[in-house]
Symmetry: C5
């Protein structure tokens, strides 16, 4: 999984029928300091994530292992909202503190 | 999923039999400003996208989760035509305005 | 799918038994002008492609969606021989003309 | 599979229900000398790995081939803790010696 | 598939139970001249490859399409030992000659 920040949303009315009802989020990848790093992706939302939240997303066939994305042409899904992470014993990010 | 612009088409008469009837689109990846960024891909079209439209495409096994691509050797599919996206509360792209 | 030129062949007599009978092609990726770009891959041939032909290849599990590659440890397959492609209304490549 | 060092953990209370009970590890990729190299990933833990251990992780659908990750939206899993590796006849890393 | 040279082995006693008995090889990617190029990977061995041999390996779900790797958390497998390859009508590598 990768760490990313929700930075926006995509609207698409003409789409594969099975994609109806899914929300598309624009995700900016972040590094271990929580800063933006190269690359963004558009992912379906399986957990009700909001703009500015830091999330985990899964890609590939694993992105279809949720009730919302099962058997759909979806290759990226937000499957967790991050509370915090630590490396080297230090909190590098805490939700509500580093946002 | 990734954002891309449809910039062309590929014709291939000799192909795996199961690929008959599929339309191959040339997709140029775009960044969050809608400008071209490195990399292009050839994708099957599942939504009737046309040249110059901005689309979402899915890759890998997820590209086979449409009626048109099911069980075919297809690893990229256009599964939505983008109306708009916004980041930071601003519309970065609106179909018909930024084209 | 990606555009590539068939530039060679690989011979391997000791291999997974299920790979018997498959032809391995060396593919050089090409850009939209038909020029070589970074990266090559070895793919199984599902369409009888020959050296110097421009082809489309699929990767990942989609590479197993042909009769020749079904259930085999094969992650890239040539599934179409390209006749031509156009971008911006111009033919960028025509088989027999730009070769 | 890739070699990586466990450098931290991620906590996420709001997540896809099927991800309950999984531990998320932050993995820093390492080169063949055991030094950090570009890129990190967040992986589920299937073997009880601890911080500072060198591990092997698998990605994609293969990351779901463990009891803990089966049918879950998980695209990376730690599936082995490394004791040592050698290249050119020399041990490049030995657990407990090069840590 | 990719071309690589077997440059070493990895030992891991604590691992997912299903991985018991598999041999882990360190593979250095090679270019079409047989020289090392960026990147290495750890792959399971399905063909009895030895150090210094040039091999083909498959990744992703295709890496599980061998008897030895079926249903295991393994995302890369050596599935062939290369005898030779040619590009432009010239042998670029012959086993036993260019090693």
């Amino acid at each position: 999984m990768n760490l990313a920040k929700v930075v926006g949303t995509v609207v698409a009315t003409r789409k594969e029928q099975s994609m109806e009802g899914l929300k598309f989020l624009v995700l900016q990848n972040v590094d271990l300091d929580g800063n933006p790093r190269d690359g963004f992706v558009v992912a379906a939302d399986a957990v009700g994530a909001g703009v500015d939240e830091i999330v985990l997303y899964a890609t590939g066939s694993s992105a279809r292992q949720t009730v919302m994305t099962d058997k759909r042409p979806c290759d990226a899904v937000v499957m967790a909202i991050v509370d915090n992470w630590e490396t080297g014993g230090d909190f590098m990010y805490k939700k509500g503190v580093n946002d």
